[in-house]
Every structure is written in C-alpha cells, then in structure tokens.
C-alpha cells in the first residue's frame, strides 16, 4: 500500500469531502430550491411540488452530514476552525433545516386548517437554511474574518446561493411537473437564472481582488488557460439554458429535463472554480489540507470502508430515483 501515503490520503479525503459538498449543493440544492419558491398560490401546486421531493430530501440532506462528517474525521483542525468562526450562521442553518424537515412531515399529518402554517414554515425554513449556507460560504471566501466588508459580501453571497438553489429547484420542477405548475416553474427558473448569473459574475470579480492567492491561480499560465475553460463552459450553459427555457414547454414534454441538467453543469463549474481557487488551503490562507489531515491509520480504515460502501450507496440511490421516475403525482403515505 505504498500509494496510501499520508499526503495522498489527505488529497483523497479532500476530494471526497469536496465531492460530498458538491453533491449536497446539487441534491439538497434542488429540494431547498423547491422550498424557497414553494408556490403559495394553490394548495394543489404545493402538494405536487412537495411530492416531487418527498422520497429524496432525506437522503439529500445526508450528504451534508457526510460532508461535515468527513471534514470532522479527516480534517478535525479545519472542522473546528471553520465551524468556530461560523458558529452563529451554522446554528441558523441548523434551525432552518430542522424547521423545513419537520414541516414537510407535519403538513401532511396535522388538521387541514393548520397545513398552510406548516407550508409557510417549510418555505421559511428552506430560505433560512439556504441563506445561511450562502452566508457561511461568503465568510469562508473572505478568510473566515468578520468585518463590515465581509459581512456585506457574505450577505450578498447568501442571496446568490438563494438564487442558485431557486434556479435548480425550479429546473427540477420543470422535469417533475406538467401544465400550469410547469409553466410557473419555467418563469421562476428564468428569473432565478438571471440573478444567479449576476451573482456568479460578481463573486468571480471580487474573489481574486480580496485573495491574492486566488488571483495568482487564475492568471498564471499555463494552468490559467486550462482554467479559463471552466467559466467559459459555465457561461455557455447559461446561454443554452436561456434558449431552452424560452422554448419550453415542448410537445410530448421533450427537453423537460434539459434545464435541470444544465443547472447541474453550472453548479459543477462554479464549485470546481471555487475549489481550484483555494487549493491547497482548507481554511483559506491559514491551513492547508496537508496540515489539517488526521492520522494515516484512521484515514486508511475509513478509506477502505468508503471504497466498499460508496458504490453500494450509488446503486441503491439509483434504485430509488428509478422507482420514482416520471412526473410527481399525489404522493400518499402507505
């Protein structure tokens, strides 16, 4: 096992943690997005929208537990440094997640006249959780420092993430619904897309200005040429998405999943762009992932577990998505 050196293991676990964060952002992103833009106009719309994420939200949220868990076990020093600095927003994130998670179940089980109250709780909780995540990301990008500038930036980042989740959430709804609700989702997706694009542009401009390291990564040839492909692909996807949304819905529901697919690529590009900016730091400008990694023996034992178990997780997740393919219908508990 000469390949499993402490350095390689640290890199592998950084990759795994990053993958868990990315999968979380995409997967819980779409179900949080459905929550943020929960259409309050009609009860039937809300039922369908929530039914579309019903079988998935729980497993989606587990990626956050995995991401935080991997950070905790593989990079304990970074885990405490990051969460120490993000103490209050993390608490707000948790309260948001608690509210929406329970509202999801309570709404289907309480007296009918109380249902709307839990729907509002669901929307509010989704919004609080999303904004907190964006805020945490903003503070992280600013080097985990609190100043007037960083708080303003973090609040802006909170809005960007809210727009991005709203975009992918409605893209999911386009695939999962039909008729009026689908047309509603198309409009919402377009609107959220514009804000997301504005957000990505602004963050891309500000990030290299505040982090010298980031500026260097993106401007130093030859890697800079390679990296330039990432924003190009991202912006191409926005253009393609805009064209697609203008034409949808098509007869026979063709292309209904295209926006969701495009959103996924946009998420991947943005995430890879951010991750590259910070490599090799796990706490920006303070701690590299090699410094923060835990002992080799512990990482090795988790590594073998992960190699065996992650394909199994992927397999049964595929079974679940296959079982609930197609349009969301009135979801009932049996």
């Amino acid at each position: 096992m000469s390949l499993l050196t402490a350095e390689n293991l640290a890199l592998v676990f950084a990759g795994l943690t990053a993958l868990a964060v990315l999968l979380y952002a995409i997967l819980d992103g779409y179900d949080l997005g459905v929550g943020i833009t929960l259409p309050m106009q009609q009860e039937a719309w809300r039922d369908t929208a929530i039914a579309s994420i019903g079988p998935f939200w729980d497993a989606n949220e587990t990626w956050l537990v995995l991401a935080v868990g991997l950070l905790l076990v593989a990079f304990p020093a970074a885990h405490s440094a990051i969460l120490h600095a993000l103490y209050l927003p993390a608490a707000l994130l948790l309260i948001g997640l608690i509210l929406r998670g329970v509202a999801f179940d309570f709404r289907a089980k309480v007296k009918p006249e109380r249902k709307i109250r839990w729907d509002r709780t669901f929307k509010f909780g989704s919004l609080l959780a999303t904004f907190s995540q964006g805020f945490m990301l903003g503070i992280y990008v600013m080097g985990l420092q609190y100043s007037v500038g960083s708080v303003v930036f973090a609040s802006f980042s909170g809005l960007c993430v809210t727009a991005a989740y709203a975009m992918i959430g409605n893209a999911w709804l386009i695939g999962k619904t039909s008729g009026d609700l689908q047309r509603h989702a198309i409009r919402q997706c377009k609107l959220a897309g514009v804000w997301t694009l504005a957000g990505i542009l602004a963050v891309s401009a500000i990030n290299p200005l505040v982090n010298a390291n980031v500026y260097q990564v993106w401007t130093e040839p030859p890697l800079a040429y390679l990296f330039a492909a990432i924003p190009l692909l991202c912006f191409a996807m926005f253009a393609l998405g805009y064209l697609a949304l203008k034409r949808l819905p098509l007869p026979d529901d063709r292309g209904a999943w295209l926006p969701f697919f495009i959103c996924k690529i946009i998420f991947i590009c943005s995430f890879v762009g951010l991750a590259l900016s910070f490599y090799p730091f796990v706490v920006p400008n303070q701690m590299t992932l090699y410094e923060a990694a835990s002992s080799k023996e512990s990482l090795t034992i988790i590594f073998f577990g992960a190699v065996v178990v992650i394909p199994i997780i992927a397999a049964y997740t595929a079974v679940a998505y296959y079982a609930f393919r197609g349009k969301a219908d009135g979801l009932k508990y049996y």
Binding site: G54, P55, F56, D58, A59, E61, T62, L64, V65, L66, V68, G69, L70, L71, L72, V73, P76, A77, H79, S80, I82, L83, H84, Y87, L88, A90, A91, L94, I95, L97, I98, L99, G101, V102, F104, D105, F106, K109, V110, K111, S294, S295, E297, S298, I301, I302, G305, A306, V309, I310, I313, Y316, T317, A320, A323, F324, L331, K332, Y333, Y334
Partner: protein, 457 residues
C-alpha cells in the same frame, strides 16, 4: 453569565436529549413495521396493512425529527467540543464515518421507497425496503453505541503525545461495556415503542374505535412488553455489574454511597447532600445493595470518598437512576396486569385504558433518565480516564452559546408539543375512518373476497 463550559454542556445535553427521543422510537418501530409487513405479505389480510399504514405515518414523522435533530449533533462536535476530536478523533472519526456510510444513507434512501413506493415498486422490494430501514436504524444505533461505550470504557488504543491512536479495532468496537449498553438500549427502544403503541391503540379503543387494527396492535404491544420488561431488568442488572467493574464511582453515585462500606444498604429514597457527604431522609433496606452488586450480604462497595476530584455529582445520578428504575418497575407491573386481563377477557377495563394512555411516553422518561445516569455518571471525564470534559470545550464566547441555546430550547419545546399533539390527532382521525376504502390501491387480487372482513379492520 454562566461560563462557556456549563452552557456548552447544557446545550449538548439539550440537543442530544431531544435527539435521542426519536431514534428511541424508530429503532424498534422499524422492526415492528417489518413484522406487520411480513404478516400482511403472508396472510394478505388487510388488517395488517391497516396497522402498517397507521404506524408508518408515525414512523415517518418520528424519523424526520430524528434526522434533523441528528444533523445538529454532527456540527456540535466541532463547534462546542473541539478538544474531543483533537484528542480521540482517530478513534471517534472512523466510527462516525462508518455510521454515516453504512447506516444513514441506507435508512434515508430506503425510507423514500418505504413511505411512498408501495404502488411504484414490486411488493418484495417494498418489504425489503422496510427491512433495510429497520436494519439501518439498528446499525446506526450500533455504531453510535460503540462510540459512546468506548468513551465509557476505552480500550484498544494507546496515547502518543496526548493523542489517542487505535491499536486494535476489534477491541475498540467490542469494548467492555458495549454489549451491555447496546442490548440495554435496544430493549429500552422496544419497551418505549410497546408503550407508545399500546397507549395510542388504547386511546383509539377507549374513544370507541371498534376496528380490528387497534385491538391487534394493543395485543402485540402488551404481550411483547410483558416479555421484554423482565428481560430488561435482567440486562440492566448485568449492565450495572459491568459498570461496577469498570466505573465504580458511577455506581457509588447511583447508589448514594458516600463512604466505602461493607454490607451497604439499598437506598430506596434519600436527599443526597454533597456538603456533608451524607444522605438525608434516607429510606434504606439493609445490606441489599451489597447483595445485588457483589452477591454477598457483607460485600464491600467503594464510596465517593475513594475518588477525590474524579467522581460525578451524586444527586443528579442518584435521582435519575431512581426515575429509570421506578418507571421500569411500573412498566413491568402494568404490562403484566393488562396482559393477563387481555388474555383472560379479551379486552381491558376503562381504568387500564386510561393508565396505558397516560403511559404512552413513559419510555421516553425512562430512557432519558437512564442516559443521564450513564453520561453524568461519567463526569468529570468526557472519555473516561483519558479526557476531561473541561479540557475539550470550545473557546466560543459564552454569549453566542447562550443565544443559540435559547433558540434551540424554544424550538424543541414547540416541536415536542406539535409531535405529541399530532400523534393523538392521527389516532383521532383513524377512529373516524369508518370502512376499509377499497379504492385505495395496493390490495392483492383477493381484495374482493376480503372486502367484508376488511370493513371491520
């Protein structure tokens, strides 16, 4: 202002106390649902599906509360107890990682199929999903109890430069207190569910529900409780003996033994006084504690005085232990009293219904009290003999901890009330459903044949 250490301890206690309520139900309820589902698959009788469908709703709600309160826990380690991972992260880390990888994803993904997939997947897959959810919750309990037991009776490691390193994973997993704690917790979960199911079923029957399903679930729950309550007493006793061997100061606090003595009495009730190191108003049975713990009337039991600076506070451990045992004895008595009547006469008296309704959540109290005994009884250590709680705490300012604590507490009170109210509301709604609705999908080919029978289910 209270200091960060105390506030962090209160916050952790509040979060984990709230969290443990829900897994305590889902661990055993998952297996009860497997039982209902398999009985339905074998008999095709709709009454089993009725029972399944009612309790799967309770399961879903409980599971959701368990998941979201559990996410909080994964953040708490780093936010409030950074010293924990810094010192024992090499052992705790892999255990937590295995819990997430083997249990969390399995239960979360299969839950979707179990709740919403009845008409979308083949029958066998739905039964399998139910089974895997139950397996997932139990696996999760396995890993987290491994970690907790290791914190009580650490084994299979060595300390290098103040950091624990694993030397023997089998010794870590099957550490001395693990088998006892794990069985004790699984039985606690089973008894909690028995009394919850009995209580809600009793509520429906008492309110005039004359369908078969609540009668069936009442009988299942009561007979199971009648068998498990004495089993739990036996396992609890073994667990106590194990604790005496490895953590004698915890036993001293549980039994209220301030000074080492031979032929120690069993203190039924007292007010332990830490100032004078005595029990006030003690009601005792001579020599019984020595007999139970050492199997000798004059056996010696170590007192708090033997552990200067390394013993837990006596009063909370002492009282919690009595609450746990008291509820356990009450459960045993009620389970037998009701089971006998149910066996002989086929139904319970109104008084018995009322008692069962009142005891719907008694398992929660006993479980919480039991955890307070073992967790407060471990103090002042976080990891027994390795790491003190005060050395692991965060440097976050106390105002922030206090603020978040207040937010969590307010939220938990609201959610707990909503949960209990919703359970009884679900029961009330189930009473009103008059007939078995044949338009509901999922019944087998024989559904016409069973329709009349089903109407009473």
């Amino acid at each position: 202002m209270l200091d960060t250490l105390l506030l962090s301890r209160i916050q952790f206690a509040a979060n984990i106390s709230f969290h443990i309520l829900f897994p305590t139900i889902t661990i055993a309820l998952g297996w009860l649902l497997v039982y209902f589902k398999i009985r339905f698959d074998l008999s095709q009788h709709p009454v089993w599906m009725r029972a399944y469908r009612f309790w799967v709703k309770v399961f879903a709600l409980t599971f959701a509360l368990g998941v979201v309160s559990g996410i909080t826990m994964s953040f708490q380690f780093g936010t409030n107890w950074p010293g924990f991972m810094e010192t024992v992260g090499n052992i705790a880390g892999p255990l937590l990682a295995y819990e997430i990888l083997t249990a969390f994803f399995l239960e979360a993904t299969m839950l979707g199929i179990m709740l919403f997939g009845f008409n979308k997947v083949p029958r066998w897959l739905h039964t399998l999903a139910t089974l895997l959810v139950a397996l997932g919750t139990t696996l999760s309990a396995f890993w987290i109890l491994v970690l907790n037991s290791w914190m009580q009776t650490p084994a299979g490691f060595e300390m290098r430069d103040g950091v624990a390193h694993a030397t023997d994973w089998l010794a870590i997993i099957f550490n001395p207190s693990f088998p006892y704690r794990f069985s004790h917790m699984l039985l606690a979960s089973a008894l909690t569910v028995c009394f919850l199911v009995a209580g809600i079923s009793a509520y429906r029957l008492y309110r005039g529900d004359n369908k078969k399903a609540p009668r069936l679930t009442l009988k299942t729950a009561l007979f199971t409780a009648a068998v498990l309550a004495p089993t739990q007493a036996f396992v609890g006793d073994l667990h106590g003996l194990n604790t005496l061997e490895h953590q004698p100061q915890k036993i001293a606090a549980m039994e209220g033994i301030w000074h080492t003595e031979q032929g120690a009495p069993l203190v039924l009730f007292a007010i332990p006084d830490a100032e004078t190191q005595t029990n006030r108003f003690a009601l005792e049975i001579p020599k019984l504690a020595s007999l139970i713990l050492t199997h000798d009337l004059n056996g010696e039991l170590k007192g708090i005085n033997e552990f200067p600076g390394a013993h837990p506070p006596v009063a909370p451990v002492f009282y919690s232990f009595r609450v746990m045992v008291g509820i356990g004895v009450l459960m045993l008595a009620v389970a037998w009293w009701c089971s006998l009547r149910l066996y002989r006469k086929g139904e319970l008296s109104p008084l018995q219904y009322k008692v069962l309704i009142g005891m719907s959540f008694s398992g929660w109290l006993a479980t919480l009290a039991g955890w307070y005994v073992t967790e407060i009884g471990r103090q002042p250590y976080l990891v027994y003999g390795v790491l003190k709680t005060s050395d692991a705490v965060t440097t976050v300012v106390s105002e922030q901890v206090a603020l978040t604590l207040i937010m969590y507490l307010a939220l938990y009170v609201v959610l707990l009330l909503a949960y209990v109210k919703t359970l009884f509301w679900l029961a009330k709604r189930a009473i009103e459903v008059e007939e078995y609705d044949l338009s509901l999908p999922g019944l087998p080919e024989q559904k016409a044949k069973l329709a009349n029978e089903g109407a009473e289910a």
